[in-house]
């Protein structure tokens, strides 16, 4: 099916929920209201014509600093500086968060892209884990890294980072930690080795500690 036609089907079903159709050159996509995304996915999964039985990818996105007009300017993300100390910034990000769903149908052999956008303050999207079981881990990952809370998810824990980790690293204003749970994350000076191991003496310098060649 044509992607446009799929969107029209979807729009007919969702009504208000389908916000817009973006006919991008590379990858057209449908913008869906956050509240309607679970319904939209369930519909696309169940409908015989669309039959999207595979969720290829689910990506959480932090849209902060992205210019919708295209000529966007990237927000320089923070890292560790050359000395390994975490860079600090006062900037507070204010852009939306978003989720993109890439669907594929094994039977119909067509793809479709859905996107939702939620304000940063809300950061809640309905879960689609009941539609595709594979979404469970993807959503956990999106929660972990981008900090989008998926309502109705059976087991929304952090996926990659530890439960005790602070912050969501893929947000544009994320600041790198210097230490976490006793583990240093910053680059220490090389001389600042907590376990200095002495270099072995050059051959033959110390009698007794040498091999039989000198003995």
């Amino acid at each position: 099916m044509e992607q446009k036609a799929i969107y029209e089907l979807l729009a007919a079903k969702l009504g208000e929920g389908a916000l817009a159709w973006h006919e991008d050159e590379v990858e057209p996509w449908a913008e869906i209201a956050p509240a309607a995304i679970a319904d939209a996915c369930a519909f696309l999964r169940e409908d015989r014509n669309t039959d999207f039985n595979q969720l290829m990818c689910l990506s959480g996105i932090d849209w902060d600093g992205y210019d919708e007009a295209g000529k966007g300017k990237s927000v320089a993300i923070l890292g560790y500086d050359e000395l390994g100390k975490p860079e600090v910034s006062e900037r507070i990000a204010d852009g939306d968060l978003g989720v993109a769903y890439h669907l594929y149908s094994h039977a119909q052999r067509h793809k479709f892209t859905l996107r939702v956008r939620v304000p940063r303050a809300v950061a809640e999207v309905p879960s689609v884990a009941h539609v595709w079981p594979t979404a469970a881990w993807h959503e956990r990952e999106a929660w972990d890294l981008v900090g989008i809370r998926f309502t109705g998810h059976p087991d929304l824990r952090r996926m990659l980072l530890d439960e005790a980790w602070e912050g969501h690293p893929l947000r544009k204003d994320y600041m790198m930690p210097a230490k976490w749970a006793g583990v240093p994350m910053d680059g220490r000076p090389y001389a600042d080795n907590p376990f200095p191991t002495p270099e072995p003496p050059a051959g033959g310098d110390q009698p007794g500690a040498t091999g039989p060649a000198e003995a």
């Binding site: 050359e82 090389y190 001389a191 080795n193 191991t197 270099e199 072995p200």
Partner: protein
């Protein structure tokens, strides 16, 4: 019941076939390369430790800029004609041997050598310093280099190179892709004639 005996037969038969394969290998000469005694001859494109020929380098900084891991440290002082390089170091705590620094070096000073085996006891020694600031500073500007008798990039070669859209002034002249110009430099690296153990 038939299945029972078939299974036993299959188990014994396949085990014997497998043992045939392994016993065959006992008589073959092992493929092992006995490393300290024997060394593999590296192909020309092999990427070992990065080497920078300091007599050629004019500290344009492209290598440091292109390095995906920021492992090249260049420090300069002065401006314009009085610009001198005071430090050129490669930090093997970070280097990933990707060869991106060598591709765009217009002077061809930075190359991947065929050396690869240097383990160390102290991590600090993995910062390979290519110059000693107490001894020498290297002029960066072309005119200064010419004046002081340092190696400069031959003009003719520069003109032969196809014009690039983003030609920059003296300090950063672009050159043709280094894709195939590689074999020239490693040829003189002491790769094969390493000291052998015995």
């Amino acid at each position: 019941m038939v299945q029972y005996f078939q299974d036993i037969y299959a188990a014994v038969g396949s085990a014997l076939v497998g043992m045939g394969v392994t016993i065959k290998h006992i008589w073959k000469k092992p493929v092992t390369l006995q490393y300290p005694d024997e060394r593999q001859v590296m192909p020309p494109r092999f990427r070992g430790f990065v080497h920078n020929d300091m007599t050629k380098c004019d500290s344009c900084g492209i290598c440091a800029k292109l390095c995906p891991v920021d492992c090249i440290y260049i420090e300069t002082e002065g401006k314009g004609k009085d610009r001198y390089m005071t430090r050129y170091a490669i930090d093997y705590n970070k280097c990933i041997w990707c060869s991106m620094c060598t591709e765009n070096c217009h002077t061809g000073s930075i190359t991947m050598s065929h050396d690869y085996d240097h383990s160390v006891y102290d991590r600090r020694t993995l910062v390979y310093e290519f110059m000693d600031p107490t001894q020498q500073k290297i002029p960066c500007h072309r005119a200064t280099r010419e004046e002081l008798g340092w190696w400069v990039e031959p003009k003719a070669e520069k003109k032969a190179a196809p014009a690039k859209p983003a030609t920059k002034p003296e300090a950063k002249p672009e050159a043709a892709p280094e894709a195939d110009a590689k074999p020239a430099s490693p040829a003189d690296e002491p790769s094969g004639d390493k000291g052998e153990d015995k």
